[in-house]
């Protein structure tokens, strides 16, 4: 969050009540990264972040932030390992998390 990324980005946050990882889609949030919006440039990314920050008073999500993604063989994937793990679940417990279909409504 310290510097502005220039490439495509997505926006993520945690749901306040249960801590679940969410991805911004439109003016709402979805649980799976594959369904989230990709912001192609810094301007649209920053304005999505600003909108999410303004909505914090709704007390639905906490700590929204942008992260870089890229296209890998037609699929959107995070650039950083941290976001790959965050989107899927812990690599050491593959039977838990979103990778195992454990998604809270």
């Amino acid at each position: 969050m310290a510097h502005q990324n220039q490439g495509p980005q997505m926006l993520t946050a945690n749901r306040l009540r249960d801590g679940d990882v969410l991805y911004r889609k439109g003016d709402g949030w979805v649980p799976m990264l594959a369904d989230g919006d990709v912001y192609k440039d810094a301007t649209s990314a920053e304005s999505a972040l600003a909108a999410a920050m303004a909505e914090l008073t709704r007390n639905q999500v906490v700590a929204p932030y942008l992260f870089e993604v890229r296209d890998v063989n037609g699929k959107i994937k995070p650039v950083k390992e941290r976001e790959i793990i965050r989107a899927a679940g812990p690599t050491v417990h593959p039977h838990t998390g979103k990778q195992a279909g454990q998604v809270n409504a």
């Binding site: 801590g19 390992e81 812990p90 050491v92 417990h93």
Partner: protein
Amino acid sequence: MLNPLVKPVDPNMYRYDEFDAQFVGERVNQFAGQVARRLSGELTEDQFKPLRLMNGLYLQLHAYMLRIAVPYGTLSSKQMRKLAHIARTYDKNFGHFTTRTNLQFNWIKLVDVPKILRELADVEMHCIQTSGNCVRNVTADQFAGATDEEIEDPRPLAEIIRQWSSLHPEFVFLARKFKIAVGACEQDRAAMQWHDMAVQVVKNDQGRIGYLVMAGGGMGRTPYVAHVMNEFVEREDILAYLEAVLRVYNQDSRRDNIHKQRIKILINTIGPEEMRRRVAREFEELKRMGTLQLPREELDRITAYFAPPKFESGLSDTIPDAGPGFADWAATNVHKHKAPGYAIATITLKTPGQVPGDATAEQMEVIADLMDQFSVGEVRVTHEQNLVLPHVRKQDLPAIYAKLKELDFAAPNAGLITDIIACPGLDYCDLANARSIPIAQSIAKKFENLDRQHEIGELKIKISGCINACGHHHAGHIGILGVDKKGVEFYQLILGGSGAEDASVGEIMGPGFGEHEIADAVERVVNVYLKLRQPGERFLDAYRRIGMAPFKDAAYEKEAA
């Protein structure tokens, strides 16, 4: 789930009276109120964060993480069963034992926390001050009350410190966290010198028992080993002394740079001499005031809770012969007990390939049964993420081993190279730069062969996924630090650290290794040790004699080729 064949046993440990129970109950209500105010928006996240941290609740990579206090590492079987129940009911059926002897659950929902806290309060447990800028869980030697190496059991003192520090009004908004450990032996199994403050029970020349207080140890970005603040504090003065240290820390620590706000920075900036002077001044005044004096009756009253169990007499004092697998396990995982016929048994949660320090709800319940059947209802958690059955009859060791084998917790590796400490790392932790658990697993599998492990001997590997050092990498004979190199996980090697009484800060070798190279690099380092060691030298001793150069050359040799 209670095993009908096992009769629950209540160990000798601190018991809440009505005051303690009311305190914890009111704390739960208070936090429930704070959760409600957060959900309604009356509290912002910025305001709520320090409040939830002081109740042990982190927001991590995937969900909330709840850290439950295990004071001085001591659990009863009833408490262990409750932890299993919470794992099953509110989490994903497992928990993680930490390097501060606490238990963490990784998939907690904020809205469930008040309920969980009430369940914990039912068995005299809580999450108070397991995080936040306050005094944290007080840890102790895991062999306390069982070893003949100690002057006395340090846990009554730990309990007294726990009460004194609980919601201490002056010290709940310190500059940073404050970790305290206690011990009572020359052998340091609690990594005392790495703590913000530690108290060691000592005897002076007149044979009087008192306390040596040290302060300023700490890991993280700038690791330091503690300095002695006072060689001998009288028993009745100990709380006044600890309060003096905390006050000097609270008032004089920096508040402008989060990386410079631990007490280790203060002491190393002003110098230990000056720190001792400032503390002594506060101490004299607090002693004069008198309100913090610890009466002998109170120390005796608390000590009585920790009375040793009724040891049987006339027991066989030899470890039975029960086959080679058992003999291997007894060689590393069984330690001498002060009572004839008894032993201390270590359950390493480090079977090669396992996640270090993890236990499922089912495993916890079987351990609770073992506690009741064989260890007077008691278990200890160690800072090396293992468990200890403190009071077992030697004749029962084979039965214990057989049960541990069923649990897959029978690795005969306590203190050996596969007994690795690893933090949760990037698989779970919001702060991490790299994963640590898979590294621990790959190294443990690589060195799995027991003959090879014994050839190598004592070698403590400690792995942290980031500079916060929850895996204690600075204190590893071989330490591994995960770093982020342009979004890719890299691992630095650190050699020559120690968390025992010969405490030392490990030395960074140089540039990091990739995820698929680090285990091989460790192997090359170990091979140098095997080649160059002198008789009787552990890895750590050989490193201290030889220095970094040959290890560094070997580690990078593959890349140079």
